[in-house]
């Protein structure tokens, strides 16, 4: 894989395994990518695709017990995998920060929000109490909290879900990190608030020339916002491309299926949604071949037998993992064959597999 010269973050062959009573569960399997300074990357996949585990592995936030992580994560040319916990703590905050899905869970319920925002500043930037407070005030104003002077002294439960997420963002941004990882930051929020929060992250990223990894299950969330999109399935990257290229010319059937399952305003009501039948595979003893094969509408015998490699498309920077890429003549043939043998119904969705 080509490594960009100015890469801020380089992940090479990252593999995370959980030792469960049922066996070794491979949550992330050989993920490699790089992210340049100031760029944004959207990571998309269903629950269980390994996207959250991957982002935590990069941050090295996973507990050590029963979890093994292999591969290298280079951040500003330092291998995070080799850093001692003490050095890592110095990185979290001023270098890289993370925001999570549940804003209430990420805030301490008994500490005033102003203090929580100022905390990182005092620890990492050595601000005095007064300086930290005025900086926190500035931050709260920046993340769009009205009357920050008053709200500085309130507790997390006095804020609404959207406002809490804004505070979490303020805490994450406090020490001017170069990389922000947002793990499903809007999944727990309403669409209206989701739009506000995504706008806010976008705006702050531009202002601070920060890199962003936005993890989500909704292609719609990353569509107009990130420079690149990486689609994950079963712990692997199945497609990666610059956003516009991906939407204009997607190759991976999984990406296509994800896109089709989103209800669209343009369609009339009661239109049948093309859902992805079944469940993501069991990652303890995953099937041979392409991991998406059991749910794919283009599936052929070859897909079940051998696993496709991540290959480059004609467009630079576009990678995918499929033998019968969407839009190719082979895939059209494959679909026709599947329709003929009844694997796919006339509406074009894979025949229902009982879950």
């Amino acid at each position: 894989m080509k490594v960009a010269e100015d890469a801020l973050l380089e992940v090479d062959n990252l593999r995370t395994q959980f030792d469960t009573p049922g066996g070794l569960l491979t949550a992330v399997d050989g993920v490699s990518f790089s992210l340049s300074k100031g760029k944004s990357l959207g990571v998309v996949g269903e629950s269980g695709s390994g996207k959250s585990v991957m982002s935590r592995s990069i941050m090295r936030l996973l507990p050590k017990v029963n979890i093994q992580t292999e591969g290298t994560v280079r951040f500003k040319s330092r291998n995070l995998m080799e850093l001692a916990p003490r050095d890592l703590r110095k990185l979290w905050g001023p270098e890289m920060a993370m925001i999570f899905q549940d804003p209430l869970g990420s805030l301490n319920p008994v500490v005033k929000v102003g203090k929580q925002v100022a905390e990182g500043l005092r620890v990492h930037s050595g601000f005095s109490k007064k300086e930290a407070r005025s900086e926190a005030l500035k931050l709260l104003r920046e993340v769009g909290i009205s009357e920050p002077e008053r709200r500085l002294d309130e507790y997390p439960h006095q804020f609404s879900g959207g406002m809490r997420q804004r505070i979490v963002i303020a805490i994450a941004l406090a020490c001017q990190p170069d990389l922000l990882i947002a793990d499903e930051p809007t999944t727990a929020l309403d669409v209206t608030v989701q739009a506000q929060i995504l706008d806010l992250i976008e705006e702050q990223r531009n202002q601070r020339n920060m890199s962003l990894i936005l993890v989500t299950h909704d292609l719609g969330v990353v569509a107009g916002r990130t420079d690149e999109i990486m689609v994950m399935y079963a712990g692997r990257i199945v497609e990666r491309a610059p956003t516009k290229v991906l939407f204009a010319n997607m190759k991976m059937p999984y990406t296509e299926a994800l896109l089709e399952s989103i209800p669209k305003l343009e369609r009339p009501s009661h239109s049948h949604l093309l859902s992805i039948p079944g469940q993501p595979p069991n990652m303890i003893d995953a099937p041979r071949g392409c991991k998406f094969a059991p749910r794919c509408k283009y599936v052929q015998d070859r897909c079940v037998e051998e696993e496709p490699e991540l290959i480059s498309a004609a467009t630079p920077g576009h990678l995918y993992r499929c033998f019968f890429p969407v839009g190719s003549a082979e895939s059209a043939d494959a679909l026709a064959r599947n329709m003929a043998n009844g694997k796919v119904d006339e509406s074009g969705s894979r025949v229902h597999i009982r879950t």
């Binding site: 469960t20 009573p21 949550a27 269980g48 996207k51 959250s52 303890i284």
Partner: protein, 294 residues
């Protein structure tokens, strides 16, 4: 995400956790100790224990020997049989006291947590009223007021202990019930037309029960200790009926020459309380880790 993945394999997880290994050897050691103690206490009359009130002349303050496994006390009585008969008193007081508290406190807590509002306020006041009674004063006044015959002493003990345990148990149940009532399956049960009683007993109680059981074990342990303390003041079941607290108290003057007189009952009390606490903790831990998967 991790959770979701583990879900697929939870069947195996459940099977492995059902084996003894997940509770640990210590847990089963504690259970066996309590089982043996309970067995001996119940069948003390037909098991080959010596008469706990019989004094053996010339054996005063003797250490453990072949015929007296735990030695003799200050007046020559067999400590082993006194420990076993003392266990009768301790266990009956602890089990019956906790059971009464469990029924009353449990129902109060369940109703208060489920119905909330006025019912809750009223029942909480009831629970709190039991807390404002100073236990020792209640105790002493009851004993002074009533004829302090041995059997009645036991009932006063049980009555007071039960009264004291109602509020803590009631509060635990109330808090748990409230937390579980928030879950949507409770509303779902009401939506299908189930009566309140059914919702409480079939939907909420099974979820509250695990923590309730482990908590009552700890209450039981506390009652055994409190009984010991009360006996130390000479307010428990009077001699010659053996109780652990009384035995410890009586051994005190001989502590320098015959420490085993105090040590043996103290040790059995210590082990019983330790076992109860340990089992309670382990169960709590197990239920919690199970609840975490949910």
């Amino acid at each position: 995400m991790i959770k979701l993945k583990l879900r697929k394999r939870t069947r195996e997880v459940d099977e492995t956790s059902r084996t003894n290994n997940s509770l640990g050897l210590m847990f089963w050691a504690a259970v066996s100790f309590l089982a043996v103690l309970t067995f001996c206490a119940i069948f003390a009359d037909i098991l080959p224990f010596k008469n706990p009130t019989q004094t053996f002349k010339g054996f005063n303050k003797n250490g453990p020997s072949g015929s007296f496994l735990l030695g003799n006390d200050g007046v020559g009585r067999d400590i082993l049989s006194r420990v076993v008969y003392g266990a009768q008193t301790s266990l009956v007081i602890a089990v019956v006291g906790t059971s009464i508290a469990l029924i009353i406190g449990g129902s109060i807590g369940l109703a208060a947590g489920y119905y909330r509002g006025k019912v809750d306020r009223l029942l909480t006041i009831m629970l709190n009223t039991t807390l404002i009674i100073p236990p020792l004063i209640l105790f002493i006044s009851l004993i002074l007021f009533l004829d302090p015959a041995a059997e009645r002493r036991m009932f006063i003990l049980i009555f007071t202990f039960a009264l004291l345990s109602i509020a803590p148990i009631g509060r635990v149940v109330r808090a748990n019930t409230m937390a579980w009532s928030e879950r949507e399956f409770v509303l779902a049960a009401q939506t299908i037309g189930a009566r309140n009683g059914r919702v409480m007993f079939r939907e909420i109680l099974p979820n509250v029960a695990p923590s309730l059981i482990s908590y009552s074990l700890i209450v039981m342990a506390t009652l055994i200790i409190v009984e010991g303390a009360v006996a130390f003041l000479g307010l428990s079941v009077p001699s010659p009926t053996p109780t652990w607290g009384d035995m410890i108290n009586k051994g005190r003057p001989h502590l320098d020459v015959a420490p085993h007189i105090t040590l043996m009952p103290a040790l059995s009390m210590f082990l019983t309380v330790l076992s109860l606490n340990f089992i309670g903790d382990k169960l709590q831990e197990k239920f919690e880790s199970k609840a975490a998967i949910l």
